[in-house]
């Protein structure tokens, strides 16, 4: 166990330079790069005094090294600054208001992509080099090339406009949440925790189209990976041995799938970044009140500190998720050690 502990400690320490580098990149993009963010966002026609005032509030008129020090120290203290608009709330509080919606969407989108990816990947792997395999391979390429907003809109058109069976936007019917206090912000879970099953059902109902959209587009990558792993695992000796012992084909597949699934886990870390990118587009398409919608809205209103804070938050979030995935992988696979 000492080696596992060393692995976890070293891997955690390694996250520090990565986060630090990302923070520096964000700083360079938002402050040092040519072009003046505030002017670019307000537009050239804004009165100069107004632009000056915004810059001063965001601390943009100090020398770079002072700005950088303020920025890093602020983040270490957990202080992301205050919003420049609407009640000037702390940026972190605003982010935490919108985060649960994104997490709920990504969890369900992720589940859809894993279910589709595992099924199609297993079928393609078992039927490798047949027509079925070729068509599933084509599926994985096309699914990946689908533009999320377009797929979402086609779903909205079919299920919302023509069939009128599913909601085309939002997280929940507004009337339901009157006088109801969510606990975690994940509506599906909160509905169960507070005994309001109508809320859970309604939230799930709203989740169907967005999570299908996100899940289908992301499933292609899993299809390919599971297929490749299945082909690899199915040719190994223990599978041949299992077949020789007369195990049913279903049980053989269960063994194979368990082994084919381990490498899929490593990919989940990288997939997470893609999941977030997809979530931004899905949220915009389905007016989902999450981080993506929030970030775009604040870019429109030139809420500079909030924009910076949100991007910094994304950077830290992604690094932490990657860390967790790596540690989980080390727990499952004892070969992963330093």
């Amino acid at each position: 166990m000492t080696t596992l502990r060393t692995y976890i400690i070293v891997r955690t320490l390694m996250t520090i330079p990565i986060v630090f580098t990302l923070l520096t990149i964000v700083f360079i993009i938002l402050r040092v790069m040519p072009g003046d963010p505030i002017t670019a966002m307000v537009g050239m026609k804004a009165p100069p005094e107004y632009i000056e005032r915004l810059k001063e509030e965001a601390g943009l008129n100090k020398p770079y090294h002072v700005q950088y020090a303020d920025y890093i120290l602020g983040i270490i203290r957990g202080d992301f600054g205050r919003s420049l608009i609407w009640g000037r709330r702390p940026v972190l509080a605003e982010i935490l208001d919108h985060l649960p919606a994104t997490i709920e969407l990504t969890i369900f989108g992720f589940l859809v992509s894993i279910i589709i990816g595992l099924t199609t990947g297993t079928i393609a792997g078992v039927k490798c080099y047949t027509r079925v395999d070729t068509s599933l391979r084509l599926y994985s390429i096309v699914a990946y090339a689908l533009f999320i907003p377009w797929l979402g809109m086609m779903f909205q058109l079919i299920f919302g406009v023509y069939l009128k069976v599913l909601p085309v936007g939002g997280r929940i019917d507004p009337g339901l949440t009157v006088g109801w206090k969510p606990i975690t912000g994940l509506y599906v879970l909160d509905g169960i925790l507070t005994g309001r099953f109508d809320i859970t059902m309604n939230a799930l109902y709203h989740l169907i189209l967005p999570s299908l959209t996100l899940g289908i587009v992301l499933s292609g990558a899993y299809t390919r990976l599971v297929r490749a792993n299945m082909i690899d695992v199915l040719s190994q000796d223990f599978i041949r041995a299992a077949r020789a012992r007369g195990l049913s084909e279903f049980k053989v597949l269960k063994h194979a799938l368990k082994n084919a699934f381990i490498p899929v886990l490593t990919m989940m870390g990288l997939q997470f970044a893609i999941l977030l990118t997809g979530a931004v587009l899905t949220e915009t398409t389905f007016s989902w009140p999450g981080m993506g919608t929030f970030l775009l809205e604040r870019i429109k209103y030139v809420d500079y500190t909030t924009i910076q804070g949100t991007i910094v938050f994304f950077a830290i979030f992604v690094s932490v998720v990657n860390l967790v995935v790596d540690i989980l992988y080390a727990l499952i696979d004892p070969r992963i050690r330093y």
Binding site: L22, G35, V142, A145, P149, M154, V280, A315, V318
Partner: protein
Amino acid sequence: MDIGFEIIRRTIIPQIRESGLMLKLGLAIVTTIIVLSIAAPLLTPYSPITKAGVALQPPSLRHIMGTNNLGYDVFSRILYGGRTVLTVVISATLLSMCVGVPLGLISGYYGRIVDRIFSIVMDSMYAFPSLILALAIAAVLGPSMVNAIIAIAVVYIPTYFRMVRGQTLSIKSLLYVEAAKAIGAKDSRIIIRHILPNLLPTVIVVFTMNIADAILTEAGLSFLGFSVPPPTPDWGADLRAGHEYLLAGYWWLVAFPGLMIMLLATGFALIGEGLNDLLSLKEAEKR
């Protein structure tokens, strides 16, 4: 029965056939779209940025893809939009290749502290959600075609860097590179004459796959309003403009631009996949 022959018949031949098919299909899709966008003035009588008829007309013989909310011909906007998309995406990917490949070569060949610094910067960027990074850059620079190109190019530099660095590391230790070093060849000569040519096939595969990726990022940027400003025709931007009218049932405003994005991205992905397969089969043959 000869087992070797059986393996070739059952696995290798279908693979070669499949990759050849994918390559051809991809090339057909991409060539068609490129020709259609170049020949746009010959194929449509309407300008993409002037009123061509009554607004929101469904597809008909006069307007085969209908008209949009401003009365512009949707088919014209699709064709001219292809020009915008291809220009932005190909310039951006070429730009990131021109930055990423040299950095990867230097990092992989010289190693040490330079390598450490480049690697950590590139790995961090690689792990970050690409669209959000591009969005931040485009938001700071302001919406324009050149800025969209820069934003997309920056996002994909790590893709080339990581691949080239890894390959350089393995090629560097090959015998013929050692031999070149032993007879006193300069570093620059070794990198340009001995390492770079070996990288080219992989760079080309990554380049085509990267274009597919960049098409989706460009579409994402313009869908969110951070690429070319209106009324320039662009598929992503048209999709966003059409979204407002979707719930009223005007499906042709969004169906066609999105279909084009998917087709073009699929085309490049197929070329990349096909090339990749052929390349790895060739590698396997060598052994």
